[in-house]
Symmetry: C2
Subunit: 119 residues, 2 copies
DNA sequence: GAAACCTTGACACATTCGTGGTAAGGTTTG
DNA sequence: CAAACCTTACCACGAATGTGTCAAGGTTTC
């Protein structure tokens, strides 16, 4: 079996066992479970945990920020509402990056609608 | 002058004056200032404030969530890192929505790179 | 110039986030 | 079966969010 239990996973990822449980509860990395309920971290989870730790450290984002990002990724309605709100602001000539992001978000929306219409 | 002072803006948006200052501090809605420093809310800001309030209520998102979304919209590096992290997870056959979102995010990335390369 | 507004700064307080412990009890392994 | 591990469920506690209120001091308006 190529999966680690929580303490082993903690050792190789730098998270504490306590935090691994917390990260799972936040919906960010949910390992499989053994028949008796033990968490079993596979290679994918371990990688995700390491990347997450780096992301959090490098950009100073919180776990709740990441949870929110995940939520947006899985809830198109929320995502669209947030994008729409942001798009009403990006009209300052300076930040072109935001404009770019939003342009593609809008295209996404249009394409999704088109895809639905074409069905 | 078609701009309202903070108490007037509070009255028409449903936010308290205190919260209007807080929202500004969070970088979400920053009104102009009069020469003497008074906040002056124009029609655009008022609309943004109302929409924000609705968004927060309807989807139960926090102001820090919105601040994070704004940050992602203006920081492509952060946005890409977050998308990349999320994309490594969306491989569960269930949530197709997330896949969709990420697909477009990736296209965005490719296009941005293409645009840079074409310059 | 007094009343009614605005500003920033601070104190306060409930709630959530991020973390660490510890306890009571099941599982694995030597 | 005992040691070492795991689980959930709590208590705790500092930091950040969200929100109100109050104080000291400028502005606007009558």
């Amino acid at each position: 079996m190529d999966s680690l239990t929580i303490n082993e996973a903690a050792a190789t990822t730098g998270w504490s066992p306590r935090m691994l449980r917390y990260v799972e509860q936040a919906g960010l990395v949910a390992p499989e479970r053994s028949p008796s309920g033990y968490r079993l971290y596979g290679a994918a989870e371990l990688q995700r945990l390491r990347t997450l730790k780096e992301l959090v450290a490098q950009f100073d984002v919180s776990l709740s920020d990441m949870a929110f990002a995940a939520r947006m990724a899985s809830d198109a309605e929320l995502s669209d509402a947030v994008q729409a709100w942001l798009s009403a602001q990006a009209s300052r000539p300076e930040d072109v990056q935001a404009e770019e992001w939003l342009r593609f978000e809008q295209e996404k929306h249009e394409r999704l609608l088109a895809a639905v219409g074409a069905a």
